[in-house]
Symmetry: none
Subunit: 216 residues, 4 copies
DNA sequence: TATGAATGAGATTTCATTCAT
DNA sequence: AATGAATGAAATCTCATTCAT
């Protein structure tokens, strides 16, 4: 699960991302064009992955020209960073809303509710997240965004483990594992042709997580 | 987590992978050259990722030439497939050895022992796995390998969940989640600069997994 | 050393150059805008040279837009031609004022006086001249301007050599050499970080030129 | 007059310039290809100037491909630098051979002899020198080469002026002026359509220089 | 068995100029 | 009179793969 994008957190309306070539004020038309490029980018990245995506494809889909592309973005990476930042923002928001689920069945239900929302977000942003993982692996700088968002998430889960203080369990590691599980499970469930039914994902993950955190 | 490599399972000594250009018997020198290329490939893929890895880098590291590269491998993907197959073999072996850990403390200890071995393998093969993920995302055919090995792993864990029959828990999904957790936790713990201590990884994962599977 | 600009010699007030897109009468505001573009152009050409200068730079410096640029000038070359014409005018004027310096110390002093004025002009117009040289080399049509102004200069110097009639000296070539010297010496003295003191340039060049022309 | 190229002064045979992409040892074929590219480059730069020259033209003329070009040179500038270095080497050699011409007719004859050789070199290398001037103007890094070669030349001439100690003459400036004259006179005489006869160039410049340096 | 020179399709990027407002 | 978004041709550069030796 990518991270952060705190950079664009408070960006002024009208400049959806921070790294654009010139920090120009955009008029209505420019805004629409930029939006078209972002949407086209999301589509192409989703279908081809970060590396295989060609600026040419994006431009064609957005029905505009190469020149226009470079008017709004410094390069392919810059456009991707903008998309990632958008996703990152929504992730951060969601993570901050993670409830302090208690040991009882209520806690489990709360968790399930939150995981449902997470699943929805993941479904819409998944393609970007996948490309993000790819970029991350390749060591591109964009990949390095996002750590913060996840850290917050991990911190909350870590608190629960710390409270439980199970011997042999490193709370930070355990939290990391749970977070990793939630992210990857969504990844596999939504992309892979798993025999599993994704509609039960929130319930299942909630129970597993709850059991792991509030182990006897 | 990738899989398989059944191709090379019983392959004749001297041809560690199936897709090499000519299916010829290699003499000692040829073997060494091919091995050098494989090792160089592993190194370069690990450092740069699949897409960013250039044949030139591999060839330079192996102290050989482009021509020689294409003597032993059909293309970049072919070399990667050979590496993936090697890893896949070892993974399959390990997965088959997963104990049927029971609900008691003994089961947890068994699980921890197995996870320790998994960690060792991951440490050595991890970089290839990472590159694999990248290739997978990009939709390259190599990426499609690997699912099988994981399926076996998932099946065993799934059995446990099925036995427990917790209401609301889809055994297949839960197993997928646990497997994903184990894989990704290793990934993050070994690559990221987590504040956590990786030496406690096996113990922590064992406890978390055990608790999740044998929930009250 | 460029020349000419006869084009703008008697041009009507309000249109400092000949090639502007529409030959319209400009109001006060238009005049100011055009002037701003010319000044910005002079600056940018000076700093980057003709080819490296981008219309975008000029427009930004002039705090106006691309559209406006093409309202006043046909293209980049046209703006440059306008600038060159301005310089050419002043050069022609100065060359026509070259005194018929005699062999005695008075002639040398006259020459020094003239060279002082030349130096002042060069200091202010030099950057354009440099860009001019570049354009000339590249074979752009603008480059072909300028030869005339220099020819007049050369003619006067040539007269002196013809009078002296030194055996082995081709008067035209000698004059060309002296003119070239004066131009390039200023160029190097004013741009390069020569260890020499430019304030002595007029005196030194006067003596060298005088000695060369009125050799015993 | 460009400068220096001391960089390639002692370059090993087989690598005619210092800045090539990889410092590879070239086999016979590679050598020929690289030579073809250099020659094609010289031709294209001469005809179009540095900026207008397209790698495409060079490649076509050399009957090779873009890929090959970038095998031997990092970019256009790199190829140009290689050419400039070749010229610079020959210039440096020549400058070092400048005789310490005395005040008598013998000194003038010595000078003429040297200028004849200079003219020959200039004729063959002129096109590169012209492009060099253009690059220099544009502030490209290549342009900054060459100052050294000229400095040596200037130093020798400067010595003569220092010996003469004419009042009002700054020896360094005077030397600079003479050097500039010799260079530019060749430039104009060989490129422009001067009415002058270039075959008298050496004689004329020798006399003018001699008179200027050994003024009464 | 090995080499490394050569290729060329394709990717990214730039910028003078036009156009709709 | 002014704007700035849009264009697209052209330029540069990369790299997997082939080929001649």
């Amino acid at each position: 699960m990518p991270r952060d994008a705190a950079t664009s957190a408070g960006a002024p309306a009208g400049s959806p991302h921070a790294g654009a070539a010139p920090a120009r004020e955009l008029r209505a038309r420019g805004q629409r064009t930029q939006r078209r490029l972002l949407d086209a980018g999301a589509d192409v990245f989703a279908r081809r992955g970060y590396h295989a995506a060609r600026v040419d494809d994006i431009v064609k889909l957005a029905k505009t020209s190469h020149g226009t592309f470079y008017l709004y973005f410094e390069n392919k990476e810059d456009l991707f960073a903008a998309l990632a930042a958008e996703v990152g923002d929504r992730m951060t928001e969601l993570f901050d809303a993670l409830p302090a689920f208690g040991p009882g069945p209520d806690g489990c239900a709360e968790l399930e509710g939150w995981l449902t929302r997470f699943g929805e977000l993941y479904r819409s942003a998944g393609p970007i997240l996948r490309a993000w993982t790819e970029a991350e692996i390749a060591g591109d700088s964009v990949g390095r965004l996002g750590a913060d968002a996840m850290r917050r998430f991990t911190a909350v889960i870590g608190e629960r483990f710390r409270a439980a203080a199970t011997p042999g369990v490193d709370p930070a590691l355990a939290a990391l594992a749970i977070v990793a599980m939630i992210e990857r499970a969504h990844y596999y469930a939504l992309t892979d042709q798993t025999p599993a039914r994704p509609e039960h994902l929130a319930a299942t993950l909630a129970r597993v997580t709850h059991a792991a955190v509030h182990a006897p």
